[in-house]
Assembly symmetry: C2
Homo-oligomer: 250 residues x 2
DNA sequence: GTCGTATCTTAGGGCTACCTAAAAATGAGC
DNA sequence: GCTCATTTTTAGGTAGCCCTAAGATACGAC
């Protein structure tokens, strides 16, 4: 008689996460896919599915395909947000390679408390948005990782001063433009969200505000669905929604 | 017949960590202390002690006091380094309070791979040593955590430029001084280590080099043992050892 | 030395999360 | 509609890690 309000174990979180990822691609998950994704035997999957169903996080009946309930989706998104925030920190700030970041994030995500994740996210966004940091700052750090013999960055200061001078005026003068004008791969900072009651409601619920970092991942050929990454979530916006978000490149 | 070369479980790591901390204070640990430190019952401690003894990490015989073997101490130090590196990142960069940092670090330490920990340590030290960052940079970040409505730091740029100009000359001209001249609480960067073969050998084995950050924790009245924190380790240096380390304040 | 309390160990049980082996269901091809 | 390969489930077992209850040991007070 497991308490269905209890916290999920690390293992069950991984099952839920895997189901979410499979469902995102194929609309429904089968036990086999889950077993392969997590590197366990099919028998172990059956057990986990029963536990998740007991907690009302998935729709599950023997021999049927598996889908997430609304609560299950919400839980999975929380886990994936932690995963993505950690991974983003590991790759963009620590400069670790994709694979190590991926594995490290999936191990740590389960123990990461919500408030710490929020701070880590804010920190990662801050460093990317702050004009004092930048590519030379980051490469200075990476140099120091490989050859620790260097003294702290006396050389990088001069280049920085120049860039700062430019940034000081640019930041003030930057003209906000709708998200639809931004090229894929570019990171930008939200300046304002129009139509708060209607189109942009989802964004606001997710914690996207003035100051939040948005990364454009993909723009579909005929413009319609725009894939963006915000606060660890990957989501696709309709053209209309994207138009009501004004940003400046970071 | 548990494989004694296998990785320690998170639970056993916590036992080992607790034993190290107790032994550091009282020279030997008793089951009771461990139980209290970890919030478990004495019966659970006995089981864990048997497992640690099987792996030759502690000296244990029923009803006797518990001490660490050299291998046990080495393992415990690795765990505590991870703990301290995470905690240092949480407090000094993310600005989290002591308690949350402590708890968060102790949850995450077990899943943190060595190379990620190294990077995180390097990053934390880099930010503290880099003259581009500083108190105003950090407080700018903390402002943004509490009130996310702010645009990215247009105001902090002017103050930064002034500080940069000063730093640019200071960094070049900074005169290295022996660690013994530094006041408690001050963080500084290692410039050189003299007598590499003899006194400073321990430090070099720990990975302390030119560029490493050292924090002075405490100087005993008559000068002799100086407590410092380097790379997540708390250690005490003899006056003689400390003299052979030349540093500049960060 | 005996007593009593604090401490530690043993015995037995629950829960999670894996496994293997074997049985059952599914469904595509004929 | 039957057959057979694939997938899923059941049954039964192991290991880790915690618990309670009860028995064993240690040690200071008398
Ligand atoms: Mn995971
Ligand atoms: Mn994950
Ligand atoms: Mn821990
Ligand atoms: Mn710890």
């Amino acid at each position: 008689m497991s308490d269905q309000n209890a916290q999920l174990s690390a293992s069950l979180e991984d099952y839920l996460e895997a189901i979410f990822r499979i469902v995102s691609k194929k609309s429904a998950a089968r036990g086999r896919d889950i077993a392969k994704a997590l590197g366990v035997r099919a028998a172990s999957v059956t057990g986990a599915l029963r536990l998740l169903a007991e907690r009302k996080l998935i729709h599950y009946a023997p021999y049927e395909v598996i889908t997430l309930t609304p609560e299950g989706r919400k839980e999975a998104e929380k886990i994936i947000q932690k995963h993505e925030v950690l991974k983003g920190f590991f790759t963009t700030l620590l400069g670790l390679d994709e694979d190590m970041a991926e594995e490290g994030a999936c191990r740590l995500e389960h123990g990461l408390a919500q408030p710490i994740m929020e701070r880590l996210l804010a920190f990662t966004e801050f460093v990317q948005a702050c004009p004092r940091c930048g590519e030379d700052w980051r490469s200075q750090f990476l140099d120091r990782c490989t050859a620790r013999s260097k003294p702290p960055c006396a050389e990088c200061l001069t280049g920085c001063q120049e860039r700062l001078r430019r940034a000081a005026t640019e930041v003030k003068d930057a003209v906000p433009q709708p998200l639809t004008e931004i090229q894929p791969g570019v990171k930008c900072v939200v300046k304002s969200i129009k139509n708060r009651r209607t189109v942009a409601r989802r964004l606001i619920e997710m914690g996207v505000q003035r100051g939040t970092l948005v990364e454009i991942k993909r723009v579909a050929p005929l413009g319609d669905p725009i894939a963006v990454k915000v606060r660890g979530y990957h989501l696709s916006l309709r053209l209309e929604e994207a138009k009501s978000i004004e940003v400046v490149p970071a």
